[in-house]
């Protein structure tokens, strides 16, 4: 189990072991960021020195960087000193005490999604003292996985129990110098998931944050590291549903995947962070760095994402195709409604010979939503016989939304074959009328047509996820047809 997340009261009342004055500690924990705050985070988590050094190096680098402006999204400036970088579990004083206090609209959404009552409480941010059954569930799985040599635990736990693996792989795919938010995450990340599949092992079940009992409050800066050793296979599911809050929150996660020779990692995400309300108030700023390194020959990394939430999404799950004959895949559905903005896509960096990549991106814009695909396919000189096929389709629902496509293609090898196609369409009046004449409501018809549009991506998702994703689309599209 992970170190229990410390509480603010504990921090203040306890004498700090590493010689800090407690005022700094409490001040820092309250708001803002400094080296001292990072030392506190590291010390609270009882981290070995290499972790602290790494965090500090990341922080120092971050100080030299500027927030990127190039993404096709617009938001008021973020005051990075006005963020609490290490929060104890949400104070029960601030959160709703019971479901009665939760916005009924949000509850209705959960109900539609079929989320069990207990989980609804969790998701809505209701402080539940006794965390639901997942402790025992988690333990059962943990034993089974452990017997196969699979390590699946919280990041904090991994730092304590497998420091050599953490030290070896942390930052090896996304170095802290990579970008502004990755640097920030590296400095302050509080927790996340860690997974290691030993050589030749095929993980017998879908691993999911859903089962990750210990992640009570991974905070806004989570970090995930998954390593599939030679010939290993793992399918990992990440579901994100966030409590509804009026204020904008920053979520700057980093996910690193490492696939060794012949290893395969499938990483699926259904992201439904709070998108803000109909007027565009509130919602998560979802600035995430996800990258997979196909380090070994014939390795394969597949990203599948369904992005329906967040006020602003800025993420480009990428593959570095280093190993010969390695394969990178990116399947994405991004839906923006109301005032949501999404700037998402992928990078496929072909380094090894005969590397292959596939990109399927489906963007749906409704209301005043803005949806951008931004992708890079880069074929280096060494990548003889590289192949890429990209398909980016946009569906526009309504005349006040936008769809944008910015594919960058850089080819330095004459044996490469790269194909990119993009199209834009809308739901035709005749399609709608046809469905309605057959008895479907307009909303159901739209939902059905949108599902059809996304089919290529949904078929890449594990079954339960696909069902959930379809429902989510339906919910997210509500009110988008007149």
């Amino acid at each position: 189990m992970s170190t229990p997340a410390p509480r603010l009261d504990d921090l203040i009342s306890r004498e700090y072991q590493h010689g800090f004055v407690s005022e700094v500690e409490s001040d820092a924990i309250a708001h803002g960021l400094s080296e001292d705050v990072i030392r506190v985070i590291s010390s609270k988590k009882n981290e070995p020195p290499f972790m602290l050094e790494w965090r500090l190096a990341a922080y120092r680098h971050w100080l030299t960087m500027r927030e990127p402006e190039w993404a096709n999204v617009h938001h008021p400036p973020i005051d990075f000193q006005d963020i609490i970088y290490y929060s104890a579990p949400k104070s029960q004083k601030n959160g709703p005490k019971s479901l009665d206090e939760v916005d009924p609209e949000l509850l209705r959404v959960y109900e539609k999604l079929g989320v069990p009552l207990k989980e609804r409480e969790m998701l809505a941010g209701v402080a539940v003292d006794a965390v639901f059954d997942s402790v025992s569930v988690g333990t059962t799985f943990k034993e089974k996985l452990g017997s196969m040599g699979i390590v699946f635990c919280s990041f904090s736990e991994a730092v304590q129990e497998h420091p050599e693996l953490v030290q070896k792989y942390l930052g090896s795919v996304v170095p802290y110098t990579d970008n502004f938010f990755a640097a920030l995450n590296s400095a302050v990340f509080s927790d996340g998931s860690f997974c290691y599949i030993p050589p030749g092992v095929r993980c017998p079940m879908e691993l999911s944050t859903y089962f990750r009992i210990n992640a009570k409050d991974t905070g806004q800066f989570e970090r995930t590291l998954i390593i599939a050793d030679e010939g290993a296979y793992v399918s990992y599911l990440e579901g994100c549903t966030a409590p509804m809050r009026d204020e904008n929150q920053l979520h700057a996660a980093v996910v690193e995947l490492v696939a060794m020779e012949r290893a395969q990692i499938k990483y699926s995400t259904v992201q439904n962070w709070y998108p803000g309300d109909k007027e565009g108030k509130g919602g998560i700023y979802n600035f995430v760095t996800k990258r997979g390194d196909c380090r070994g020959a014939r390795s394969r990394i597949s990203w599948t994402q369904v992005e329906t939430g967040s006020a602003i999404t800025w993420k480009y799950p990428s593959c570095i195709l280093r190993g010969d004959e390695s394969i990178g895949e990116f399947y994405s559905v991004a839906l923006t409604n109301n005032y949501q903005q999404a700037d998402t896509g992928t990078k496929m960096i072909h380094i090894g010979r005969n590397t292959k990549s596939t990109i399927v991106s489906k963007g749906i814009s409704a209301g005043r939503g803005q949806n951008a695909y931004r992708g890079l396919v880069k074929v280096l000189k060494s990548a003889d016989g590289a192949r890429n096929h990209s398909q980016c389709d946009s569906l526009l629902l309504g005349d006040r939304c936008g769809a944008h496509t910015f594919p960058y293609i850089e080819v330095k090898n004459s044996t490469a074959q790269v194909e990119h196609e993009a199209s834009t369409s809308r739901i035709g009046e005749d399609q709608l009328f046809y469905c309605r004449q057959r008895g479907l409501s307009a909303e159901d018809a739209v939902s059905m047509i949108v599902s059809g549009f996304c089919k290529e991506v949904f078929k890449e998702l594990p079954m339960e996820f696909a069902v959930e994703a379809q429902k989510l689309l339906g919910v997210s599209l509500e009110g988008s047809v007149g």
Binding site: V379, K381, G398, I409, E410, V411, S414, Q417, E419
Partner: protein, 447 residues
């Protein structure tokens, strides 16, 4: 008299300003108040921003720092016009009005302008500035500043092609505007203005060549204003010498139901960049942009196209093809913008590239920015090799692999050349194309 204009780096662009101060009073139309003001403002914008670096999105793949290192001089005084034989640069049987500019200045002696029908004005910009500068005020005042180079051009431009067509006039013969550069370290800023009033039609060839192997810098701007139901064809041929820098902007404004057809063929220059941008200012416009870049050695060629669908019912087609050999590098950025009320837009953009050598490189970015829903928009980009099935087909017809490759490469490029509507010009281009292709000698009498 030569005025040295060093295009110094961003940090110290003062030499440009200093040169401007020195020569401004000698530029045509220097005594025209509105023009002097526009020139000064353009210079200020240029000095403020300086030359772009690869940190700017529009220049991400094209590094022009080499340009800043050379001292270029503005064109010489017209009384010392060098003797040039322009015959190799003209097209037999085309019957065009030939308007020649040498080192940036109009050469009446080399030009051959035939009889023009009423309502058609064909002259040099310098002449117009001397006699009727007001004819150019609207065009010069238009901020076509697609790149910082448009500002540099606006500050220093002294000559170029002026073509004005009154309403309903169809210019029967094409206009061949030929820009010949002869000397080292010359910088020319040709500014061409083409205005077609309602229903008028014309075809203009903008042709850049060099006589000899000089290293120079051409910074051309062409403004085309196409009136209601008017139609302009524009064929840009860039065949500058191997040591030349060529930067060009073609900026088009289209009125209701107008039509613009463009072919841009880039074969020369050490480094070339063309920005071709059209804006649909009213409903029902059509634009067709075709381009071919075929380069080798260490050549760098960059095309940026933009079709701005600002109004409904517009149609645009863009097809750009690239053939890159040796250590050449190609850059393509095609953009389609559909503004919020531009419903019923039909836009398509395609870019296809062929890399013939291990060290060739292509960076392509087709972009869509769509803010209206009832539209048909698509784009595609490919980088690849010759089609294996087609190669096999030819080989199974007894043709050896090298010839089959040459044939298919020719066919790939010809797809663009065949869009050139004038047969004599097309035939000449086909020959040029053949001469430029590797192993073209295998393709006797194909064209």
């Amino acid at each position: 008299m030569m005025a040295a204009v060093a295009l110094a780096s961003q940090t110290a662009p003062d030499p440009v300003a200093a040169d401007f101060t020195r020569i401004a009073s000698a530029l045509p139309g220097a005594n025209v108040a509105w023009l002097a003001k526009l020139r000064r403002q353009a210079l200020e914008r240029f000095v403020e921003r300086g030359l772009p670096t690869t940190r700017e999105e529009a220049w991400k793949y094209t590094n022009i720092s080499a340009l800043a290192k050379r001292p270029y001089t503005l064109g010489t005084k017209s009384d010392v016009t060098p003797v040039v034989d322009v015959a190799p640069f003209t097209f037999a049987d085309l019957g065009a009005h030939l308007v020649v500019f040498v080192d940036g200045r109009f050469s009446p002696a080399l030009s051959r302008i035939g009889a023009l029908q009423a309502g058609c004005t064909l002259a040099s910009v310098a002449d117009v500035l001397a006699r009727e500068p007001e004819r150019l005020e609207a065009a010069f005042a238009t901020r076509t500043g697609h790149t910082i180079f448009s500002d540099l051009n606006a500050a220093f431009a002294r000559d170029g092609l002026y073509l004005h067509l009154a309403a309903g006039v169809t210019l029967g013969e094409p206009v061949h505007a030929l820009f010949v550069t002869t000397r080292d370290d010359v910088v020319a800023h040709p500014r061409n203005v083409i205005v077609a009033e309602a229903g008028a039609r014309a075809f203009v060839i903008e042709h850049h060549v060099s006589a000899g192997a000089a290293s120079y810098f051409t910074n051309a701007v062409t403004q085309i204003d196409i009136g209601t139901k008017a139609s302009i064809g524009h064929c840009k041929l860039q065949q500058e010498g191997a040591r030349a820098f060529h930067i060009a902007g073609v900026h088009i404004a289209q009125r209701r139901s107008s039509r613009f057809e463009s072919q841009s063929i880039a074969l020369g220059a050490a480094l070339s960049r063309a920005d071709i941008a059209t804006a649909f200012d009213d409903e029902g416009c059509e634009a067709s942009l075709a381009g071919l870049y075929l380069v080798g050695g260490r050549q760098h060629v960059d095309h940026h196209t933009l079709v701005d669908h600002a109004k409904p019912n517009g149609t645009s087609r863009a097809l750009y093809k690239g053939v890159l050999d040796d250590g050449a590098r190609g850059v393509f950025n095609g953009k389609i913008i559909v503004r919020p009320d531009a419903q019923k837009t039909d836009a398509h953009l395609a870019n296809h590239n062929l890399l013939l050598s291990k060290s060739a490189e292509i960076d392509t970015k087709p972009e869509l920015t769509i803010d209206a829903d009832d539209v048909k928009c698509s784009h595609g980009a490919t980088v690849g090799q010759l089609d294996e099935t087609a190669l096999f087909y030819l080989r199974s017809r007894a043709i050896d692999p090298a010839t089959a490759r040459a044939l298919l490469t020719y066919a790939f490029a010809h797809d663009v050349v065949e869009r050139v509507p004038l047969a004599p010009l097309r035939t000449a281009l086909e020959r040029t194309l053949l001469a430029r292709l590797p192993q073209a000698e295998r393709l006797r009498d194909i064209a």
